[in-house]
Symmetry: D2
Subunit: 345 residues, 4 copies
């Protein structure tokens, strides 16, 4: 299979984001079909992916032969009605969280998946793919700081929209921590309790926001979660892990920070390959995209010449210990188009 | 053009990295040809890119019809001999830094490019694509902290190999700062001076390492560059920019930090789209790759069910103010294969 | 009153610390009497304060005429027996926390104090005098980030001794947060709940450590307190304050950090008077102490000469743009005693 | 000698600061005489120190019998005229930096000191008493990160006054780094060079500000100093030390930070004695001061009672696992004066 052809079901904000992502940043896949009942929205979303068609019915989509996999991005209450026929069709599925909105319907989906004889569904708890969560998980597994005892989580959003209700604090937001606490502790959650700090007067009148949620795992770890959806200042998801011999924190501004043995600290790069990994990728991707349009999008040969001349002066300065002036030829008109330095980032 | 077919010339460390990058992370391009005189190395590198062929001669490569663009990753002394025929063939080129190793040969390349009537060469100064350099450049252009006056740069590598010589401190390493200082200041470098701190006794005996390089721009900005290639502890590239009304620093551990108006600080996320951008990309990319192999590589439907059950308990806890225990069905054998939580990152 | 003459009652670790502090760092006071039943310990403690006498009985101490005030540093169970006669004698008192170990005895102390007609007791909740707590309190009062909604506190000790019991987690340790939460919120605590994370296997077998304590204030603010007394890595007291429009944290490594308006940050100095306040104080104090012994304890006149010579060269370098070598006279034998640079800090 | 009686010569900003410091924070010393030609200024300064007299002539001061030591805080050009008679009188001296303004006059002072047969002068390079400089010096001496190779210093002031001239960039400001570089390297400075970054347009028209000063030590260490006196944003003095195996920085916001072995980090407290050292001192000092006035200045017995009641509830909550409400007696009128929580910091 040279390219995975994906049907994206649901073209709201998350669906459109995923279409864009698959088209611009994901290797080996493309969106072949967009399913969206709102015709205008479906057409706009399909336009993001060259070659994609917009349909209003998932049943119709299932009759086509250009779908290798399904990405479910509808609102949660419609997940089951997409998952069941997709499973029946034997298609691999990436389902945005939650799987479904209650455990009874989730069990129906599990039964349908089991009936296919093969695990086909992946659920979109994307935090498991975040570098800092992965670092924290690795630290927990390493036993370097002793056993994990407790987690302090904070999940903060600037504001919420009109449709956001009290129960969504749990089902739409804490849902991430519920998965992540189990991911980090490798132990299911056995009890939940919800406490109320002072209410934020800037929250919509119908919301009791923020809340403090206590999650207990079977292994005895206690996680407290501050869920806060109208905190104005920004979006912040941080976790502080309390170990027998130290404390680690992720989600601030500096990667994983560890307190241990009378010290705090974090990792420094040890190679340019990690320090500039994103820059290398961006450079090549932008060059590829520009080249297809017959353009360049980065330093030109003229930039290369200027550097060569300054390097030559630099080596002479190094050898002589003197200040060396750099000599340049005049800039040819051929290289004078546009700005001296292209805006590359 | 559906996919840009790239000939990578030179299959050393950088060439192999680029082949890997184009194959696994770059959308809309693939490596069609690898040119490398060392047959074994060329074959190994070509094996990284499905469908790529390995050749020993660039001349031979130019006779094929499956090359849309050229990526030059040979040692710098061979750049000109690749660039000139590639230009003659009218091919777009991404040339690893430096363009060439001296200004005279660079001028020959410029003349050859101008003769094609079109700018075809982009030089691989990848730092211009780094997020923090871009933020610093934007800050400089914004005039928010007044004019830029000086730059303090440090470029630190843990160790160097056998072939690394004194002049390479300039031509292989400071070369990056030479481009970046001009990128940041939008002004060419007019003079260079090299000073000697105490020599690092851990450096190879033939190296005068570290050095302090002073770069003066036409606009009067003075940049000092600590170039240090045997500092053991890690790889670090930091720049401190001194403005009329403040100071900004990049390359530490926390993104751009700005000192202004009696405060220091930096940017916090304001949306999950930036905070978890990489996690979303990684999730989809890994799902695509796994799906093509008939696997899943992330949270399963069983994980989805566990979360649904805990959320239901959470909403009840929220409504009642009580501690609510979570009830789960036993784990079906169908979902028991492998670890409870797949290693996803 | 030129000097406040203090009787320190109790010469254990805290008592001895206070004797030392009053003698070496507190202006306008001295320890005149040390009361301690253990004769050897009392004598050792009194030896820390020139002129102090050691007694075994507080009753005896009260008959002397060289006591202006009392500092109570006995174990908590003896506070009341010291406080009542000290109040009866009309003496001002600084009482280490807690006032007493239960509210009934505290009320007896209050009644005795009221009977004197004057507030004589100050309780040793020293965190109120910590700079960062004061900054946080000022931020709360400023309303700059909206109302305070919740507090996340962590109080971590490396290890505990033999006599430390489960209830002391509250009465000896959380006691600080109980005062501080009220100090910060200006509202009394109306309810308490204690939760159990996983037990630290490195804690003594009789301790359920750590605990998570939930404190509710009359004003509706919820404070969660991680109390943790065997966490090995160090001593850390941090508080994160959650506001309507932002978050602030104290007790890490960089003073108060504030997240607001899409930024995080903190205060930078704006004058040498704050940046080097402690250094100036230390310099003068050490000079005073050394001078009394006929010594100097800092840079000498020779150091001053070396700087004058280098400055002269510096001004010439500034005027000429040249590298200027500094000329020194040979070091006189008079200045050669000791190390070239005295160990001053 | 119970109290060192100090004559402060010069009652400008620094002199007045020192008078205040000695009076309020220095143990075992008091200001007995203030010498200041400006009568009003001298009287105002003397009023800061109970018992101090203001004189206009240092000669007159030297005839008194209440002077044990001299603190010289006049402008630098008058230092010699104070130092010589003070030395002749055999008095210990703390002389604000610089010793004198040129090496020839410094040598005259050295000769006069040697003639007394005893080192009497300490020069006020107070940075040697700063905790972070001391930490950096200790790191350098420890050889933990290999030999020191280079120093990058920045000395930034927000603005300068009218009388500040170009040469004062060296003699008044870089003078500190000149001493500190020698203090850190234990090696005299053998050459100086001054470079010019772009001029700050916000500096007074007569100033070439900032400058970059290169200091070479006899031991081969190169220190670059950014001297910057109109940078508006704040006051910042930072030093980055480059070692053979790592880098350390002081003067930012988080104490000494060290990069070594692929990690960055710093020290965490390991005891409350360091974490709250300043708070303990402040508490006792404020209590002493208030007690002398018949007041209290901190938590009262009522505060102590509130804590005792909440602790009792806390222990019950700990024992029962239940939420426990706290019961308080009504606040007696006796404790209702003033605010519920005194402003203590």
């Amino acid at each position: 299979m040279s390219e995975l052809r994906i049907a994206v079901v649901g073209a709201g904000q998350m669906g459109a984001d995923h279409i864009n992502r698959i088209t611009e940043r994901i290797v080996g896949a493309r969106v072949s079909v967009v399913v969206e009942p709102d015709v205008a929205r479906g057409a706009a979303a399909a336009a993001l992916a060259p070659g994609a068609v917009a349909l209003t019915s998932f049943t119709e989509a299932l009759q086509r032969d250009d779908i290798d996999a399904v990405l479910v991005a509808t609102p949660g209450q419609f997940h089951e009605t997409v998952l069941l026929p997709a499973l029946a069709a034997g298609l691999p599925i990436l389902c945005e969280k939650p799987l479904t909105q209650d455990p009874v319907s989730s069990l129906r989906v599990l039964a349908a998946e089991e009936a296919t004889g093969k695990q086909l569904i992946q659920v979109g708890f994307m935090r498991r793919f975040d570098r800092e969560y992965a670092q924290l998980r690795a630290l927990i597994e390493s036993d370097r700081t002793g056993a994990l005892l407790a987690l302090h989580c904070a999940h903060r959003n600037p504001t919420t929209g009109e449709g956001y209700t009290d129960s969504m604090l749990i089902t739409d937001s804490v849902v991430h921590e519920i998965d992540v606490v189990r991911f980090l502790t490798d132990s299911p959650i056995v009890a939940v309790e919800v406490k109320r700090p002072k209410r934020n007067s800037l929250a919509p009148s119908w919301l009791n926001d923020p809340i403090l949620v206590l999650l207990e795992t079977e292994s005895g770890i206690l996680a407290d979660v501050e869920m806060n959806v109208n905190i104005q200042f920004g979006y912040q998801v941080r976790t502080e892990a309390v170990f027998e011999k130290g404390v680690a924190e992720i989600g601030r501004t500096a990667g994983l920070t560890l307190w241990q043995d009378g010290q705090y600290g974090g990792a420094e790069h040890t190679t340019f390959k990690t320090r500039f990994a994103d820059a290398y990728d961006a450079q090549i991707q932008r060059w590829v995209t520009a080249t297809k349009k017959g353009e360049i999008d980065g330093p030109s040969a003229w930039d290369g010449y200027l550097v060569a001349a300054a390097c030559e002066a630099g080596v002479r300065a190094q050898e002589t210990g003197e200040r060396v002036e750099v000599q340049y030829v005049p800039r040819p008109a051929f290289y004078s188009s546009g700005r001296a330095i292209p805006v590359t980032v």
